[in-house]
Symmetry: C2
Subunit: 325 residues, 2 copies
């Protein structure tokens, strides 16, 4: 015997066993589970004929903003953080290498931490894969400077080269400073690990590392620019294709909402602060006057936009996100 479900339910309701609302059962739809996965961290745009990709290696929390900025009072730092909507207890420092495909060369500028970093970083290789870039096809690695977040990814912890077919090009002055035994022995405690990291990365490839001078066109279309100060031999790179121009600034400023808006704010890692400030102003003056697109290594991802001179500082304006190239 078949039971007529509708009549059965009506009877149940009539007898008061179930409330009336239960008479119109709706199809049970389980809520979709959260996806839990972030978008890949890459973003792409053209500079003339060149294809540029910014790549997210990850970020870390700044332990103490009052030690991150070393020449201002906690009150001055609070004002600057508030103006940038950065919470004191969760200031983030991201790491953003760049790939430039010139059509003739596939160039990586800075390498992130690789597998040598703290928790929260080391995403570069995964994001390169998502971006369709094979590390084996990178033919040139350009370095802005020798701090660990820029060079550690050249070589995995196990010793293998992450970009096995790439020529590594660095500024002569930077190489000289960090491989000088005298500098190493005189270094402040905070930089001892940096010197050790340089040894780890560069000793095995010392004879193959190409040193270049500021002003050199290190790859056709890419010129090394003097931006010393953050480190003794810091280099930025000017990418030019047709009328397209891009300045890959490296660490000329850290987060622009703090350090470009307030150029005199001194980052703990600015090794020659006065020279860093001079070259910060020089490059941001150039970028703003000529409306040159920039990429910065520690800018909120996708880390590309323009500078506008404003009062004593420079405002960063993110470039429009485009869905196509």
């Amino acid at each position: 015997m078949q039971i007529d479900r509708r009549k059965f339910m009506a009877g149940v309701v009539a007898t008061g066993v179930l409330p009336a609302a239960a008479t119109i059962p709706v199809p049970a739809r389980a809520a979709a589970p959260p996806v839990g996965k972030q978008a890949p961290g890459f973003y792409r745009f053209k500079v003339g004929d060149f294809e540029v990709t910014t790549l997210f290696d990850g970020n870390v929390k700044v332990a103490d903003p009052n030690k991150f900025i070393v020449n201002k009072t906690p009150e001055e730092i609070s004002v600057a953080l508030d103006a940038a909507a950065i919470p004191r207890d969760n200031m983030r420092n991201p790491f953003v290498p760049v790939v430039v495909n010139t059509g003739k060369n596939l160039v990586l500028i800075d390498t992130g931490f690789g597998d040598n970093g703290p928790p929260g970083v080391g995403g570069l290789m995964g994001n390169m894969a998502a971006a369709g870039i094979d590390p084996k096809n990178i033919d040139t690695v350009l370095i802005t400077h020798f701090h660990g977040d820029h060079i550690s990814g050249i070589r995995a912890k196990a010793g293998t080269a992450n970009y096995p077919n790439a020529e590594v090009i660095v500024a002569t002055s930077e190489y000289k400073f960090w491989t000088d035994e005298g500098e190493a022995s005189r270094a402040a405690q905070v930089w001892k690990g940096g010197f050790a990291g340089v040894k780890r990365v560069f000793d095995p490839i010392a004879k193959d590392v190409k040193r270049a001078e500021y002003g050199n066109e290190v790859v056709p279309g890419i010129t090394m620019i003097d931006s010393r100060g953050h480190s003794p031999g810091h280099a930025s790179y000017l990418v030019t294709s047709g009328t397209g121009k891009l300045m890959v600034l490296g660490d000329v400023t850290n987060n622009p909402a703090i350090f470009a808006r307030n150029p005199e704010f001194q980052l703990w890692a600015d090794m020659i602060p006065d020279l860093a400030l001079t070259n910060r102003r020089k490059l941001l003056d150039m970028a703003s006057a000529d409306k040159i697109r920039v990429v910065g290594y520690h800018y909120v991802f996708p880390s590309t936009g323009y500078f506008v001179k404003q009062g004593k500082g420079y405002e960063f304006a993110p470039a429009a996100w485009e869905g196509t190239l």
Copy 2:
């Protein structure tokens, strides 16, 4: 007989047939072709226990900034554009719907153009797929207002519902205005198409569209907020989970670098300009005072961050990009 290539090359050089540099041939490596593909346009973050995803539908070029902003002189507009590094001839207007997964509901706020838009838009469905969200699992569509870039994607050109299992919830006042035959007949020419679009989208589902009042919790954890002015019944949405809060502003301001920095700038599409300005100030005052994270429909993707009150306006500060949730 085997030819010793090294000796042969040396001989060639010695005889002057080839220049010396040719004696060390490097392996020919074809440059990797450009990838030519943009990253998917989605970005994800948590608000309390809720999973929020912003999704890029695309963008268009503003034909003439001097007609986009209707109450300022070309000189005043130029000053504002320059301050935001927006070129006069390439001001972009992006479109960014949002999905909120509350764990119980999967909610889409605004629907982009679907296949009813101009070139450069209609990317929402593709980006939802990339984000792992199935349109069939969307159980609620919330609408901020009835302008075409927000509602056209409810229904494909061919008539099919893009979110076939979703209840559509709108503000009573917005629905009333756009479905009023008197309003339609009195409408300025520029809005005639808008009324036609509303008919196309809503007529077939009129009896199923749920009307809600400002202050209603339309979905558990999501409250409709009065932000009239941009349109007669514009609604924003406050998302709350635990101590987490997010304001999905819709069109309270267009691009914040212009319209939040200069709240009195009037967008051509602000239908009741004085009320729009009043509610713009009300909501941005609230967002900045309480440091509430926001999403804006026409902000540079990923379109999420915080407002800081500054002088007569509000500065938008993008939230840090996180590689994980």
